[in-house]
């Protein structure tokens, strides 16, 4: 518990340290940015740590992190000292500060309670996340090394892990606990960030007197963002209890939830459109108890991942797109604050006061470093906000020139500030391509997005009122090109690729209908934001966010971003990552739209506002998933609890746990450790050892490295390919590394020594296990072929059957 409290206290401290800077940048928000100061403080502290480590000013270790926090405090003092309105702002915003701290605390501890039932770091990509967290914490050099490719630096957007490292190290908790608590921090910071923004946008939309409504919008926004899930859970719940109607399920494209016909022989691995598991195992309680129930809510649209925030926090992967939620909200808050400002923005703005521009550059530059997918979308929102403000304040030419003069330096500094990262980062995005496969079925879109899209569409119930027919028609006409342009682009590109006619057919009627719905929604919302903007309404920004969200959904139906999955599941990542952004945008804008609609309905100004009630019902339906999935993941809150992500390992395999701890405590952070490559070796018919399974991703390969941050020659093969490019040279190099590692477990003593020396390794691991569950090294290799290491290597550590062997040392040491 003391570790949880320390982590929570550090989170609050960082938020408090950043308050003066938040006041200065986000003064226009009702809470003066208190709700976003958590994200702001952590971004600034993380950047400070990154920069000072790269410059070798601070050393690796907890002291370095504390020095950075001290530096953040000094910067805040400088800002507070220069800010003449600091005291006045504080007097105005202190209730907001306390509320923000309260929301964060509530959400932080709520998530900690939930996570304690599933604290184990294992499965899916959690070992990878843990590896990057440990790399950020322990790397002797910065930019940090890649523990899964010895000798190389990380080539990934790892800023989130670096920030998690700031919290973990400052609080003085082990990385395995910091991992889980970082998820809790993200949950809390996301909640307080969106509540703060929704409160502000609602007050701007419906007036400062409607404080209660604005508070309601904050609660609604938190619910939409962090709790609402896929509606498919209702269907699966019903099916699990044996209540289903085949035609209804098939209409919704959920035929796979209905059990396969009795007596039909279905192989477990077969791709089927019916449920092939044992019906009796689906549920033994009021909720579906089958293990994978909770997973399927994120795979509703075929060929894609339709993850949503609640699923992410349920799953517990500490992924960049999850950790970036608070940063994304901060970027939206900064854009909102800029948009709300009065004077025209231009180069002169920076000359008069350079520090806000610098802070903006650090925050928007961090978008790429934290989750590169966010850069384009939220930088575009930022640029649009600056443009909109300037258009409000002057003629178009001056507005454009001013915006360019303001934005260009910010973007230049944003790139320069993170240059050390860009130099090591190898983006695998290969540009845009038209999507020529099957489109999203309307039923699937409904199951996934209807609560949020419904809330978004509520903006139309009040945005066009009092607009007048002519201005409305003008707005619709002026914005019509927005959905048309991407469609034309798609047609041109697919025609030039020779895929046009096939693409027309492949999309299917349902796909075209979804596209039309998305396009129409986007068009109406863009027109609504234009109408509101022309009226200088405070609601314009919130509606514009909805329009951006709808445009992203629309765009993801037409185009894909080419990556390593392009050849197999082309729009896997595009829909996944963009729909995640959509979830944030629609949660925020939707909560404002829905609150405004309800407020107008209850005050008798708009009957259409009562449409919020059916949309609210959809939202309630979206809450079925979190209720069922939480019960499922926690076994009805009956599981053992812990907050240390290695607690399960410590219980189930004490020898391996002790080995892990020994490596953490007794090896240098720069040491290289050889462990099983993850390839499976067995004797072939002639008795010669041969690889029978070369796959090692999503396995225990690289486990010691992931748990300690020490480098190993190669971790997950395909992930390294993803990070460094699918080239013949990389494939050859990584395979050679696996061969070298495998020789260390199958070869002669000379080959073992050669493998250690060739990979720069000092240690070799043979993990711990039991006869029923042998260690990875004994499982993947041929136990009788494991060399007798003790005869030619030093036994540096032993516990049970776990061993760490070290290269023998011989060196002279002068003492005089």
């Amino acid at each position: 518990m003391s570790e949880v409290l320390a982590f929570w206290a550090v989170s609050l401290l960082i938020g408090a340290l950043a308050l003066p800077i938040a006041f200065s940048l986000l003064r226009r928000l009702p809470d003066a940015g208190a709700g976003l100061s958590f994200a702001l403080g952590l971004v600034l502290a993380g950047y400070g740590y990154f920069l000072l480590r790269v410059l070798h000013v601070i050393p690796q270790g907890r002291g370095g992190y504390l020095l950075v926090l001290a530096l953040l405090g000094i910067c805040s003092a400088a800002v507070a000292g220069r800010d003449r309105r600091f005291h006045a702002t504080f007097r105005r915003a202190w209730p907001g500060c306390l509320t923000a701290a309260g929301i964060f605390t509530l959400c932080f501890f709520t998530y900690v309670s939930f996570r304690s039932y599933n604290a184990d770091i294992g499965g899916t990509e959690q070992p990878m996340d843990f590896m990057y967290l440990n790399a950020a914490l322990t790397s002797p050099e910065y930019p940090p090394h890649d523990p899964w490719l010895a000798g190389e630096r990380a080539s990934y957007y790892y800023f989130g892990y670096l920030q998690a490292g700031v919290l973990t190290a400052t609080a003085g908790v082990p990385a395995s606990t910091g991992y889980n608590l970082s998820l809790a921090y993200t949950f809390g910071a996301a909640a307080v960030g969106i509540a703060s923004l929704a409160f502000a946008l609602t007050r701007w939309a419906i007036g400062p007197r409607a404080r209660t409504w604005a508070l309601g919008a904050g609660v609604l926004a938190v619910t939409f963002l962090l709790f609402v899930g896929s509606l498919s859970a209702i269907f699966e719940w019903s099916a699990a209890h044996g209540n289903y109607n085949r035609s209804v399920y098939e209409t919704f494209g959920l035929g796979w939830m209905i059990p396969c016909a009795l007596g039909a022989a279905v192989a477990p691995s077969a791709e089927t459109d019916c449920y092939k598991g044992a019906v009796a195992d689906r549920t033994a309680a009021w909720y579906p108890t089958e293990f994978w129930f909770w997973w399927r809510g994120s795979r509703i649209i075929p060929g894609t991942i339709t993850e949503f925030p609640f699923f992410s926090f349920l799953l517990g992967d500490l992924h960049p797109h999850v950790m970036s939620i608070p940063l994304v909200l901060l970027s939206l808050g900064l854009s909102a604050s800029l948009w709300r400002g009065r004077r025209r923005l231009a180069w002169a703005t920076h000359r008069a006061s350079p520090f806000p521009g610098l802070a903006l550059a650090l925050v928007f530059g961090a978008l790429a470093f934290q989750n590169a997918w966010d850069l384009l979308t939220f930088s575009a929102v930022f640029a649009l906000a600056v443009l909109a403000r300037n258009f409000r304040r002057g003629p178009p030419r001056e507005a454009l020139l001013g915006a360019a003069g303001f934005l260009l330096p910010v973007f230049v500094v944003a790139v320069l500030a993170y240059l050390p990262w860009y130099l090591d980062f190898s983006s695998q995005a290969g540009g845009f391509a038209p999507y020529v496969g099957a489109g999203t079925r309307p039923a699937h879109a409904f199951l996934q997005f209807s609560p949020l899209l419904g809330a978004a569409l509520l903006a139309l119930t009040w945005a066009f009122r009092r607009a007048g027919r002519a201005p409305l028609a003008n707005a619709l006409a002026a914005t019509g090109w927005l959905p048309m342009l991407p469609l034309l682009g798609w047609m041109l590109l697919s025609t030039s690729n020779g895929d046009f006619s096939a693409a027309l057919e492949a999309r299917g009627a349902g796909g075209w209908l979804t596209l039309a719905l998305y396009g129409g929604t986007a068009w109406l919302l863009v027109a609504a934001s234009l109408v509101l903007g022309l009226r200088s309404s405070g609601a314009a920004y919130g509606v514009a966010l909805l329009a951006v969200g709808a445009m992203l959904l629309y765009g993801a139906e037409l185009f894909v971003i080419k990556d390593v999955f392009f050849g197999s599941v082309p729009r896997l990542n595009t829909v996944f990552k963009l729909s995640y952004q959509v979830w944030i945008l629609l949660s925020l804008g939707g909560s404002v739209a829905m609150t405004a609609a309800l407020q107008r309905a209850t005050s008798g100004r708009s009957r259409a506002g009562w449409l919020a009630l059916p949309v609210g019902l959809l939202g309630c339906a979206g809450l079925v998933y979190p209720i069922l999935a939480t019960a499922n993941r926690t076994d009805g809150f009956q599981k053992e609890t812990a907050i240390d992500g290695l607690a399960t390992l410590a219980r189930s395999n004490p020898a391996e746990y002790a080995l892990t701890r020994w490596i953490q405590e007794n090896t240098d952070p720069g040491d290289v450790v050889i462990e099983a490559s993850g390839r499976t070796w067995r004797r072939d018919a002639s008795g010669t050892p041969a690889v029978t399974d070369a796959g090692n991703d999503y396995s225990n390969a690289g486990r010691i490295s992931a748990r300690t941050g020490r480098q190993t020659p190669l971790g997950w093969y395909f992930h390294e390919i993803q990070w460094r490019g699918e080239t013949p040279a990389n494939r050859a190099r990584f395979t050679a590394l696996q061969d070298t590692v495998d020789r260390a477990y199958l070869g002669s003593p000379a080959e073992v020594l050669s493998a250690l020396r060739n990979t720069g390794a000092k240690y070799l691991v043979v993990g711990g296990g039991s006869p029923s569950e042998p260690s990875l090294e004994r499982l993947k290799y041929i136990p009788e072929l494991l060399p007798d290491y003790a005869t030619f290597l030093d036994v540096a550590f032993e516990s049970g059957d776990a061993r760490v062997y070290a290269l023998p040392e011989y060196r002279e040491r002068p003492t005089s």
């Binding site: 020095l67 001290a70 000094i74 400088a78 060196r811 003492t815």
Partner: protein, 546 residues
């Protein structure tokens, strides 16, 4: 009470220092003598062992992570080049530390005559301060530098070059002054008090020069950018500079000073808040104490005594004037009942204490009747004191029992450290004389029989200091064919062809801190040699005759 430059000055009436000059001389003499005692008696241990090991390696041109290029480490390396003894290095630290009475004397206008004297008294008897200010760690100059920085900060007529020299000194020192620097920076920024252009240039130049010189390791070669205070601040979390944690050391040695200082800080902060006026210097002093407290709090589980010293300095500066004020109030207090009740309470508490001591010696709590007796005595003592405390005018008389309560542990700790035995948790782990004897035996054997002196890598760091000036050793994890003597892990199996030299051989020893129960502490209080000592032991093997 008047305020000069923000730090409240004690009224001259009420409490007078009899023969003030004599008192200053006596306290200053005690300050020096206690440290001299440490210099001659203390074993090399804790942060000093790390510092001297690093300095020795640097002096022979060997790279070692324990050498952090502070000015004092560089001086140490130079002195070790001349003599392999730790005494000259300690002497340099002592000389610098002995300027502290002068610095405190200069603070009289701010602290008051009696306040300054009591501040010096507190610094004199601060056990971790004695150890840090007189030992050959990398931070030997830090204590004096920190106090002098505060003196410099509280003067307004400093020449510009002092800013440059100060920045250079900070950049080439340890982390002790970091809370003060941070406090000055933060408060200056909040109050918009910026140095002049010339001062800023001097600061930047001094700091840049200091970092440059440190990065070149004072001429030993470039090993990348090094900012010594940051490196040592971080090292305090990563390395074991004492066998006890900072929290344990606080409880064992500094509790009275910390309690007095924190109480004084609280009162001063409250008064400043109520008056809605606090001078710049007062805010800096409070901020300094707060930052040092945070450092100690986050280091509470680190094996590092430095944050404790960092906190005891500002708290002494706060507690000195507060104590002077309390003493003055004590003499004006209403003693009508207190003159009976306070001695009675002290007597009752002393009886309870005596009984507790007998339990501690026996290492078990006595019978029920004894427990009832002790509880009854304590209830009587606290009731009497409570009754006195209920009368606001009599409240200052409680200073006497508080003083009695604080005096014994503080003095015991002070003398324990100053006349340090290997059984004292500060400094520790220490290098025992046996390690040096082992060196003599090993070298004689190698000289007589030929072959190599081989040390296992796991013991390499532990023998750096005791095996200094021993020619070339072979660090090996396996027995080489030409090995004559092996210094091997105690738990390793005996190598074939070697006979053990009867041991065990202690290379380092660490007394276990007497924490966990009050009885343990009391036992140690009555008998400083009662602690369990854990050792890093080695087995020594000599090659059998062929």
């Amino acid at each position: 009470m008047t305020s000069v430059g923000g730090i409240e000055r004690v009224p001259e009436s009420g409490f007078t220092v009899p023969a003030g000059a004599l008192a200053w001389a006596a306290v200053a003499a005690a300050f020096v003598l206690l440290r001299l005692a440490f210099l001659w008696t203390a074993p090399v241990g804790g942060f000093e062992l790390a510092g001297l090991s690093g300095a020795w390696q640097a002096s022979i041109g060997e790279s070692d992570a324990r050498f952090v290029p502070t000015l004092f480490q560089a001086l140490s390396a130079g002195l070790l080049h001349l003599s392999s003894s730790e005494t000259p290095v300690r002497l340099v630290a002592l000389v610098s530390t002995c300027t502290i009475p002068g610095a405190i004397y200069l603070l009289r206008p701010r602290l008051g005559e009696a306040g300054a004297l009591l501040t010096l008294l507190l610094l004199t008897v601060d056990p971790p301060g004695i150890a840090l200010g007189t030992s050959g760690s990398a931070m030997g100059l830090d204590l004096a530098l920190t106090v002098w920085l505060f003196v410099a900060f509280s003067r307004e007529d400093l020449p510009t070059w002092i800013w440059g020299v100060g920045a250079f000194a900070i950049a080439t020192s340890g982390p002790l002054s970091l809370p003060l620097i941070a406090a000055i920076t933060v408060v200056s920024l909040l109050k918009q008090r910026h140095p002049s252009g010339h001062q800023a240039i001097a600061l930047a130049t001094g700091a840049a020069l200091g970092v440059a010189v440190a990065s070149f390791r004072f001429g030993l070669g470039w090993e990348g950018l090094r900012v010594p205070p940051f490196v040592l601040f971080n090292a305090g979390f990563e390395r074991a500079w004492s066998s006890a944690t900072a929290l344990e050391l606080s409880l064992l040695y500094s509790l009275p000073i910390l309690a007095a200082g924190l109480a004084a800080a609280g009162v001063l902060a409250y008064r400043s808040y109520r008056a809605n006026a606090a001078s710049f210097e007062t805010v800096v002093l409070l901020a300094w104490a707060l930052l040092a407290f945070i450092w100690l709090a986050v280091s509470s589980q680190s094996q590092n005594p430095v944050p404790l010293v960092a906190l005891s300095v500002p708290l002494s500066l706060l507690a000195g004037p507060a104590l002077a004020e309390a003493v003055a109030a004590n003499s004006r207090a209403d003693w009508q009942y207190a003159r009976f009740l306070v001695p009675a309470a002290i007597f009752a508490a002393a009886l309870a204490f005596a009984q507790s001591l007998s339990w501690a010696r026996a290492d078990k709590v006595g019978s029920s009747s004894e427990k009832v007796l002790v509880a009854g005595l304590l209830v009587m003592a606290f009731s009497a004191l409570g009754y006195v405390a209920a009368n606001r005018r009599a409240l200052p008389t409680l200073l006497i029992p508080t003083f009695v309560l604080a005096l014994f542990p503080l003095i015991a700790g002070t003398f324990g450290v100053a006349f340090s035995s290997p059984h004292e948790p500060l400094p520790s782990p220490s290098s025992p004389s046996q390690a040096r004897e082992l060196r003599e035996i090993a070298l004689e054997s190698v000289a007589a029989k030929g072959g190599l002196l081989v040390v296992h890598p796991s013991l390499e760091d532990a023998i750096t200091w005791s095996f200094r000036d021993s020619g070339t050793l072979l660090i090996a994890s396996r027995v080489p064919p030409n090995a004559a003597i092996l210094i091997w892990p105690a738990n390793a199996t005996r190598p074939e062809g070697f006979n053990p030299l009867p041991g065990p051989w202690n290379l380092l020893q660490s007394p276990a801190a007497p924490v966990g129960s009050p009885l343990k502490y009391l036992r140690w209080f009555t008998n400083r040699n009662s602690l369990d000592i854990s050792s890093t032991t080695a087995s020594v093997y000599v090659r059998e005759k062929q």
